[in-house]
Point group: C2
Chain length 222, copies 2
Amino acid sequence: MRNKPRPVGEQVSDLTAGRLSVYLRCLTSLEAAGVKTTSSKALAAAFHLNAAQIRKDLAYFGEFGVRGVGYYVSELKAHLRAILGLDRPVRVGILGAGNLGLALADYQGFQEEGFVIVGLFDTAPAKIGGKSRNGVRISDLAEFKRLAAAGEVDIAAVAVPGDAAQSVVDLIVAGGVRAILNFSRGAVRVPAGVKLKNVDLTVSLESLSFFLARGEASGPIR
Amino acid sequence: MRNKPRPVGEQVSDLTAGRLSVYLRCLTSLEAAGVKTTSSKALAAAFHLNAAQIRKDLAYFGEFGVRGVGYYVSELKAHLRAILGLDRPVRVGILGAGNLGLALADYQGFQEEGFVIVGLFDTAPAKIGGKSRNGVRISDLAEFKRLAAAGEVDIAAVAVPGDAAQSVVDLIVAGGVRAILNFSRGAVRVPAGVKLKNVDLTVSLESLSFFLARGEASGPIR
DNA sequence: TTTTGTGAACTAGTTCACAGCT
DNA sequence: AGCTGTGAACTAGTTCACAAAA
């Protein structure tokens, strides 16, 4: 099970990164089901993926498989967690304590995968000092600045009104946080060296509306 | 401004559909700023897109531009709204009245674009009869079935726990709804003829974690 | 002249198919 | 025999570059 040296300088696509996360979930569910070993073919069949693509995605990070056998579920799972940086706590700060921010703070999926919500941050005095249903405290944006500057935030999630988005993002970047998950509407700019991922709910709904309007439908699972 | 016959049978990619929605937002903001006319080059420069791609995406649906001039902002905006099916109300039902479902029901962006939230639907008796902060009523899932069967729901948004997702999706499909926005974790299957769009919050966070772990960062705005 | 609309060229991403291990 | 890892082939998506129109 020797791993070949990784092509460390090379750029991995966003699509590959997303799939790694999907593979991890598949493995978690297989492990929970008591499955010890699997193969790219079995994974592909069970989760509607392409076997060659799974192999290629994984092979990119090392030789995790055993020819003639396949992959050991918990071993591969551990590798994936390490590759995804989930082998240590990943600390997430949420900016904007509106409905969406509060929902994100209490979202079960994040806790399950080992993300740590460091807090909710807002500027509205009425919100500061409050808590989400599950008890995530709402603090002043200044407190976020302090945490970020102290290197205590790995990822910032932005759930503020569209017109505040760019200034909040600038503040995050100034604080030295290098990964941003943006739920706000409208394009936001980040300097090189900061990874930005946009989740635009309106765009998602509008694409669906588009396909309805076209009379088209059907498509692959992801 | 004669439009050529549209290639009606042809499949439009998800990426194109998403971009149309982005273009619409750009135009809305230009219109609000009082800009009467624009060009693919100007749009590209202002919103960090590629001019040729904008032209190609638009040209796919007709000849909306004027050579030597560009595009008339409000005219193109109206065309885009029609193409996206937003020229009539699009009715959205939200399944799952948890934190996320409630946040979606009250999400400003949807109202602004003309989506109509027909209701929140859940199975928990404690939730049924309640309302979201903004007053969206929570009804029994049976009521969703009735509305769907009556053709009163265009898009279903799924925000239920992962293990309930597939059964809820099956119910939606059985009700004849042909577009689903899925926020639940885990792969969900739909038959051909139903358009499914997954928004997986965990996958989004994990990709960011991955890029952090790799020490890579930077990337284009969308 | 300016800017569209679009074929051609290019780039990225996926799938095939098989050599090489176990 | 069975399955991985991977070059080659293919497919999809983007960008270039220019003829045609206003």
